[in-house]
């Protein structure tokens, strides 16, 4: 569990800091596989339940979503660079501060040992996903940020031991998949009408 958590955290940092889109998508897929292992490590519940959840996680997070994102990158012929409003140095500093804040928050809430590491790593991923969504200029990077945020919440939930019935868990995956799918479709449409994918330039609606 601890190894997986630390690997997830490192992959998350790579996604948040890297300037290249394709490696970021690969790291995202790797995160999906690691998250798919989590249900098997949880002690509770029958084996078929863990298998169902693990398979659903891998199918959605490391196959379907990376596929949609890669296709978007290929078809939209967007450059490899994923521009950010912040420099890499600032990003690393900010994420370091957020990691620290996450650990402090989890300690203050009396989570202990393994729980604390998982929960704090989950919060860190959540923060860095949010940071990506707000500071990246390309639509694809914003979607990647959203998936990192979701992964963070997933890890946080797994660490704090929350479980729901299987239909609900599958519903959660379905929602995530449809959300990314719709964002993918919208990216194509935005590309066609605006002829660019720079979110900075999309602001005709304002007060």
């Amino acid at each position: 569990m601890n190894t997986i958590t630390i690997l997830l955290l490192l992959l998350g940092l790579h996604i948040a800091v890297t300037e290249r889109i394709r490696p970021a998508i690969r790291s995202l897929a790797a995160q999906g596989i690691l998250l798919g292992l989590l249900p098997f490590l949880a002690a509770s519940g029958p084996a078929w339940r863990a298998a169902g959840l693990g398979l659903a996680t891998v199918a959605v997070k490391s196959v379907a979503i990376p596929f949609i994102l890669t296709r978007a990158v290929n078809r939209l012929e967007i450059g490899q660079e994923s521009e950010s409003l912040l420099s890499t140095k600032t990003l690393i500093l900010l994420i370091g501060a957020l990691t620290l804040a996450a650990f402090v928050a989890c300690a203050r809430f009396g989570l202990s040992g393994q729980d604390r590491l998982g929960a704090a790593a989950g919060l860190t991923l959540l923060f860095s996903g949010l940071l990506m969504m707000t500071t990246r200029v390309k639509a694809v990077s914003q979607v990647i940020g959203f998936v990192v945020l979701e992964n963070g919440i997933f890890l946080f939930g797994a660490a704090s031991g929350s479980e729901f019935t299987l239909p609900i868990e599958l519903g959660i995956f379905l929602d995530l998949f449809v959300a990314v799918f719709l964002m993918g479709i919208l990216m194509f449409k935005i590309q066609r009408t605006f002829t660019h994918m720079d979110v900075r330039k999309i602001h005709t609606l304002k007060d």
Partner: protein, 471 residues
Amino acid sequence: MIPLLLLAPVAGVILALLSRTPWQAALGTVVGAAGLLSGAVIQGMSPRVAAWGDLLRLDELGSYFLLIVAGVHFLCSVYAYGYFRRELEGGHIGPAKVRMYHVWTNLFVLSMVVVVCSHHLALQWVAVEATTLFSAPLIYLHGDRRGMEAAWKYLLICSVGIAFAFLGIIFLSRAAGDVPLTYTALPLAAKRLDPRFLRLAFLFFLVGYGTKMGLAPMHTWLPDAHSQAPAPSSAMLSGVLLNCALLSILRIAPAIPGAYASPLLILFGILSIAVPALLVAVQRDIKRLLAFSSIENMGIVVLGLGFGGAARPAALLHVLNHSVAKVLLFLVAGDLILRFGTQKIRQIRGILRESPLRGVLLFGGILAITGSPPFGAFWSEFGILVGGIAGGHMAVSLAYLVLLAVLFGSFLMYGSNMVFGEGVPRKLSGPELWCLLPACVLLLASLWLGLHVPAGLYKTLERLSTVVAFS
């Protein structure tokens, strides 16, 4: 009963998919909506709680919200027939897109029915997220730049908001331990739950679902999304979707200590009234104007819930009053936008002289939404003020009164310019039955709720207000 309620919108989806012409698709939606409405009325009159398994359960509070969803959906589906016929004639939209409108609208309604029928709070979360996903295609139905920008913002911001609500559910399950996360089990066990995690859960519910509800300062997506959707969809988004997000917050309220929740609700409430009060005065687009008024009205409801006491039933009544008046306004605005060919307020002028019925509907709607007597919203806004003063929140109540007066002034100015103002004479064709009939029904409903609050309704709301009271 619940399987039948779910079946009605599913039937609408199937009929829309099978349809060959836009007319058939519209008929399918109307049939599905009529089915849903009759089911909701039958369930509303029966004293028994409907349940289907552990996950779905429809109590009196859910029934109240379901009736609003079903009523608005029915009127909007009738309106949509007339609206899209005109859009098709004008060549603004193709038949394939009209069919997609009906498919997505029925799916959207289906997800809202699941929201109000959810017994398990995590299922409710899944359904609220589904409402975002099914309504996003409606926002970019026309496929223009503004629609896409609005849909992109809507998907991204609401998905983040809803992710925060999910964090709230994780905190709640941490607090609950082995207590099931259902709205019947949690309040009973409230005393045994870990208060720290319970508070965090409420905070994240409020921020997460509050984003979906359009509470300031998380409201930034709302004016864009609600102004870019086609008129019947705008009406549904403002008139019922916001209520569904509110219901999701109400469901955990009984497990939360009031001393913690009330100040938060009052803060978000007054902020959500203040932001529109400042921004409404500079609006140029009629639908954005109405969208800002939705933020304000959700603020009023949340403020009333925060005040507690006598303000709580008034807040629940305001949910209904807002839906009636806001749907009315969006439907009339959609008709006017098609007639005048613009959404700009300054170019819509002199309605009364050209078409008295539309003038009466628009001006009546504006009076209704600002809470002027003799319309229903007057009583609910007044009840919230009384509750605030009785609860000892003098300063906030005063601010609430001043902000409402400012909003009333702005809306009256826009309304009188559009209805009575002199403009370029423009020939408006005769009344379009399918578009104006639902609006007339809503104006009469608002008037009826104002002239005489039905005794049965008031008793029900008093009962419901104890259901949503904080512990």
